[in-house]
């Protein structure tokens, strides 16, 4: 199988979806000749022309708002917002139309559309370029929220998101874009949206994460297993909303202990929601408080200090050991 970066894998998913279905089109700033600021749409303009790969004016609300209209008219727009920080400009169209039109029209106008956007820190970027605000979307009924962690699942999930009958917020961990390569098969591959993945089975503690944080999580697990003899069960959330509570609760019912890691801010973060669900679904099995290792409740810092804001493998190891030690 060819080895691909996440950027290449995403490009592949877009290409094959466009090839199969003329209704799939791409809209966004600089997605045309320029191939997007991260080159995810590279070559597609050349291949499919500007009818299907549309450079838009610089207005995110306009992009999402018109894409909603294209979806009403039966197309399947895949929009790109250059950085997730700029989805704020489109918040009204996302909340009021993209998320609700299916419901408002009782299914007459399903919102088959995808909002792709890079999220997260770690690339020494300026302000508003490192946010992780998946909570906003998880709290918004009608949306699905998907966050891949590597090239292969990125490709499979993006293909599934484009096929999905519902509007999908597709958060791409930009720190992973070119960080490593993975085998990604030539043949089309999809993965079900709404399902989490147990990446490693274990019996001592459940470690839950997603997106870019899966890298330090994997690193930490290796160390925890090898050096500390802690048999960690590692879960990659993949779909943030609707959340696969069953998998999470089942795991914690087995291990009794849990640590959750994400970049996003802590208050009302995804970790809070997971804690609430485990409290509901596996309370009697809990042997220690569930530990949240998350971004702090402060604006993402300027890049000379961003590394201290982000959880790393050492922090994860520390949190797991602390949770193991709790009696």
């Amino acid at each position: 199988m060819p080895q691909r970066t996440m950027v290449e894998a995403l490009n592949l998913a877009l290409d094959e979806s466009m090839d199969r279905d003329d209704a799939v089109c791409i809209m966004g700033e600089d997605v045309g000749i320029n191939g997007g600021v991260f080159r995810v749409t590279k070559g597609l303009h050349e291949k499919y022309g500007e009818r299907r790969v549309m450079d838009t004016p610089l207005a995110e609300c306009g992009i999402i708002g018109t894409a909603v209209g294209m979806a009403i008219n039966g197309l399947k727009p895949v929009t790109e917002i250059q950085f997730s920080g700029f989805t704020m400009q489109a918040f009204d169209q996302i909340e009021q139309n993209m998320a609700r039109l299916h419901n408002r029209t009782m299914g007459r106008f399903p919102m088959r559309m995808v909002l792709r956007t890079p999220y997260g820190g770690g690339i020494r970027a300026v302000e508003h370029h490192s946010e992780s605000r998946e909570t906003y979307w998880a709290h918004t009924p009608g949306l699905k929220v998907v966050i891949p962690s590597g090239p292969r699942n990125a490709r499979a999930l993006l293909a599934a998101a484009i096929d999905d009958p519902d509007p999908v917020i597709f958060y791409e961990p930009k720190a992973v874009y070119r960080a490593f390569r993975e085998d990604v098969p030539e043949e089309r591959e999809t993965m079900p949206i709404g399902t989490s993945q147990v990446v490693r089975e274990g019996k001592d503690l459940t470690l839950i994460s997603y997106g870019a944080m899966m890298r330090p999580a994997r690193e930490a697990v290796e160390d925890l297993v090898d050096e500390h003899g802690i048999d960690v069960e590692l879960i990659d959330l993949l779909t943030i909303s609707p959340m696969d509570s069953e998998t999470l609760c089942k795991s914690v019912a087995k291990t009794g202990r849990c640590v959750i890691v994400h970049e996003g801010h802590r208050t009302c973060g995804i970790a809070s929601e997971i804690i609430a669900r485990i409290n509901e679904g596996a309370f009697e099995y809990l042997e220690a408080p569930i530990k949240r290792l998350t971004g702090y409740d402060i604006p993402f810092p300027y890049f000379q200090t961003e590394q201290y804001f982000l959880p790393d493998a050492d922090d994860i190891i520390e949190s797991v050991r602390e949770t193991m030690a709790w009696e």
Partner: protein, 361 residues
């Protein structure tokens, strides 16, 4: 460096039937008598519906809604030139246009009394649901039109919004997207002078809203919104342009909100009757009836009969609504996603159990 002064064009104000119901012969669109009478009946029905809604609201049978007294010609004029393949994106004050487009009155009664099933456009009508959030439907309307171009369909979209809505950034973005993409869309800015208590002078520093199009390269026309012939003529031309691939157009329709903003509003707090009075003389229905009478195709008795028939139609619809409208609390989890995810299925089950506990059907 190009130093030629910019040609800003000229913005017409179109009037065909003047305030004394005198026809500008040169501009007569030449509708057949049956068509003129259909238009007349549409106006009368709109007003009959409006008045019935107000009565029902006062009797507690209807939620808050926005009357459209005096804006009937403006609204019908937007949709009369449209085919069933064209699309229409109404505002919350457009029920006359919605009825013309094929929304049943029962559906609209349901909509305004809080039944979800009243909200979606009927299956065979190419309309958007209107948006409660001012201006937020305009970008989707442009997107629908962009979709027509994508598929090379020779139709158009007409989208309605108010003078207040024109201040929303999203409406400016919509004009820009439409212009850049040559989208087949006709913007109808229904300038009725007020956004709740805010008069045009506080909404904009310009004396008109047609000029808004100029800034985005959208050709513009001003129309007397109380003159149904001017409205249909302007919309027809703009629609044809759009269908022919010539891009968007903005129509500023000048009319007046004669009544309450909504039934929750008390305009006496912020506007004096003297401002409203002159517009009484501009009533679009009286103007059109006078014209039809002069033309000899409608007499006073006919007018009375049409009014009575329309009233009866509205009352019949109201009666059907009264028997039809049933709250369906068990269905609030339907139509959230294509398929209800497991997580929500669990919430739904708990909810249904809760309804059982409360004895709710």
């Amino acid at each position: 460096m190009d130093t030629t002064p910019i040609d800003l064009g000229h913005i017409e104000v179109l009037q065909i039937l003047d305030e004394h119901a005198q026809l500008d012969e040169a501009l007569d669109p030449g509708y057949a008598p049956e068509q003129l009478l259909r238009m007349h009946r549409g106006l009368v029905l709109t007003r009959a519906f409006d008045q019935r809604m107000l009565t029902m609201q006062r009797q507690g049978e209807m939620g808050t809604f926005a009357p459209n007294l005096g804006q009937e010609a403006c609204q019908l004029g937007q949709v009369i030139p449209l085919t069933r393949d064209d699309w229409y994106s109404p505002s919350y004050r457009s029920f006359g246009a919605q009825i013309w487009r094929g929304w049943s009155m029962e559906r609209l009664f349901k909509l305004w009394s809080g039944y979800h099933e009243g909200f979606p456009p009927p299956p065979d009508v190419n309309d958007l649901p209107f948006s409660i959030v001012i201006g937020s439907h305009v970008l989707p309307a442009v997107g629908v039109a962009m979709g027509m171009r994508y598929r090379n369909e020779p139709h158009c979209m007409v989208v309605n919004y108010g003078d207040g809505a024109s201040s929303q950034g999203a409406v400016s973005e919509a004009m820009n997207f439409a212009a850049v993409n040559k989208a087949p869309v006709v913007f109808v800015c229904e300038n009725n002078g007020w956004a709740i208590s805010t008069p045009l002078g506080k909404q904009s520093a310009t004396s008109n809203l047609a000029v808004r199009g100029i800034g985005f390269g959208v050709p513009t026309i001003r129309v007397d919104g109380n003159d149904i012939l001017a409205m249909t003529t302007a919309v027809e031309q703009a629609a044809n342009r759009a269908r022919n691939g010539e891009g968007p157009m903005l129509i500023e329709a000048i009319t007046y909100r004669m009544s309450l903003h909504t039934t929750a509003d008390d305009p006496t707090v912020y506007r004096s009757q003297e401002l409203v009075d002159p517009w009484e003389a501009r009533c679009p229905i009286v103007r059109f009836e006078t014209y039809l009478q002069r033309k000899g195709i409608l007499d006073a008795e006919d007018a009375e009969r049409v009014r009575a028939e329309c009233d009866a139609e509205v009352i019949a619809a109201r009666d059907r609504f009264r028997t039809d409208a049933v709250a369906r609390p068990r269905e609030i989890f339907d139509h959230i996603y294509g398929e209800l995810p497991a997580e929500l299925e669990a919430q739904k089950q708990a909810y249904l159990d809760r309804l059982d506990r409360k004895g709710v059907e």
